[in-house]
Symmetry: C2
Subunit: 305 residues, 2 copies
């Protein structure tokens, strides 16, 4: 006895939405404004064809890395980066900027007074934090301790949690901004910064401070010529890309302040988006992966409509 | 009762070797020659400063993707790519080359006769294979089925193994070369190729064929300007990077054939290297990660000494 004979034809199933379509459909309330106090605007010299190059960096929110973030605000307020350069580009690893002569005591640019010195223990936050989203098994790699991964305030992090030990730390993904340093126990000031331009270098987690992420203009850093020197350093100073200025957005004239939002990592839209990134069902795909590395779930950003 | 009073001073422990130092110390017998029959030489037009740009691609070894690899050999023998271009660069995703006009039936370059058409089931190899190295839990992500990761003949792959089901497939990592395709059930011919220039897009695994990996000259593809069009396409034809030629190395005059080796993925040196990538103990590092995504264990390559 088929029940079908009196039914109207089933509607053609709609194709599943792609991650980009889910983001485009997110309601206004699922977006969070990024305060201009938490936004760095880095202006590079125009490219060879005269096109302007601006990079926006969202600073790391509490509770992570706040000593370095404080230094970075002080460096920007002092206009310390103005006239310095992007001086290192290592393929599948990092692009780095700051003072190309910083290792030469005679040529190094003096740092502003009052910068903080952070201990290595500050690479990790040693208390529990409220998670926007817990992705559990999505984190790569499953380490020797029990790890989980999630997002806080638009940033990816990992953590361990056992009855007698809780710790959490921000993690390296494409576009994350870290604080270059010398050998341990040096932890860097925030004057020399890098961004990840390749596969997530998980081995840097808990070994170096992360202070933000590039949210616009990433291609200006990722598509630069790779440096011929050791670690990708531009051995020829002519290769360096001049930094015109780095400013906290709130210090710019109001008309020049960019207004940017991220898709709230605690929102329903973000959860749907993360699931779609882990299980692509939009028409191009035939086999969903069944999981995603947290770095394959980049937090969406847009100019405020 | 201290036992120390009569002892000679302990020697200062040597710092642990870095992955690069382990590779440099690998004996000659741990390296495998790449046959010139398995090597593609892609010559791009010189860059803006006149410097030559050559990209070497190692073709995927059996048992994976051999239908597409066969097509790629036929396309190279037909000199099919000569005069075509790199026409798509999408940040943190892929750089793609072939016929920029391939979607336009009136302008598309005719393919050589006799190319094979592969079914989607060929994305995966449905039998057990001998592994060079099994990295077990290192693979990202831990999927809904029981997955493992390893290397075969210098290439990364993943697999499932249960008493009633064995399957294995090559995986997307930085520098891997895949076969662009139209919507399913199209599987591509191998005429349009891409390489991964960002975080490993795990969602493409088993959804698209992988046919090789870039082993030299990757920066010529990863540092190109990102395309302004949808999916990173160069909407302005003037942005395209001309392909001068693509040849199987064995078809070049003997003096022009590159002689390249990879660190045998079944060798003791490779096992030591992989462990060092997963647990950095060289002086810069303070906390070993305890694991590594397989894509963070790139297979070392060198010119034959």
């Amino acid at each position: 006895m088929s029940p079908g004979w009196s039914q109207t034809p089933a509607p053609t199933p709609k194709p599943a939405l792609s991650p980009a379509e889910i983001v485009a459909a997110a309601p206004a309330g699922d977006w969070t404004d990024i305060s201009p106090d938490d936004l760095l605007v880095m202006t590079l010299a125009p490219d060879a064809s005269g096109k302007p190059r601006t990079v926006l960096i969202q600073l790391m929110p509490p509770p992570f890395s706040q000593g370095w973030v404080s230094n970075i605000r002080a460096l920007a307020k002092a206009h310390w980066w103005d006239g310095l350069s992007v001086y290192r580009v290592q393929d599948n690893y990092v692009t780095q900027w700051g003072d190309a002569e910083g290792d030469d005591a005679k040529k190094a640019k003096a740092l502003p007074a009052g910068l903080k010195t952070m201990p290595e223990s500050d690479y990790t936050y040693h208390r529990s934090i409220p998670l926007d989203t817990r992705l559990g098994a999505m984190l790569s790699p499953p380490n020797t301790v029990s790890h989980f991964a999630g997002f806080v305030g638009g940033f990816p992090f990992a953590g361990t949690g056992t009855p007698d030990s809780v710790s959490n730390w921000p993690i390296h993904c494409y576009g994350m901004v870290g604080v270059a340093r010398d050998m341990s126990p040096n932890t860097g000031t925030g004057a020399e910064l890098y961004t990840v331009i390749g596969h997530a270098p998980r081995h840097l987690d808990r070994n170096i401070a992360l202070a933000g992420r590039v949210i616009e203009g990433m291609a200006h850093l990722s598509s630069l010529p790779r440096g011929p020197g050791s670690l990708g350093v531009y051995t020829d100073a002519a290769m360096r890309v001049p930094i015109v200025s780095v400013r906290i957005a709130s210090e710019l004239p109001a008309a020049q302040q960019p207004h940017v939002q991220y898709l709230s990592t605690g929102s329903a839209s973000f959860a749907t988006y993360a699931d779609a990134r882990a299980n692509r069902r939009d028409p191009f795909f035939i086999v969903p992966a069944g999981g995603a590395d947290i770095c394959n779930i980049p937090v969406p950003v847009r100019r405020k409509p």
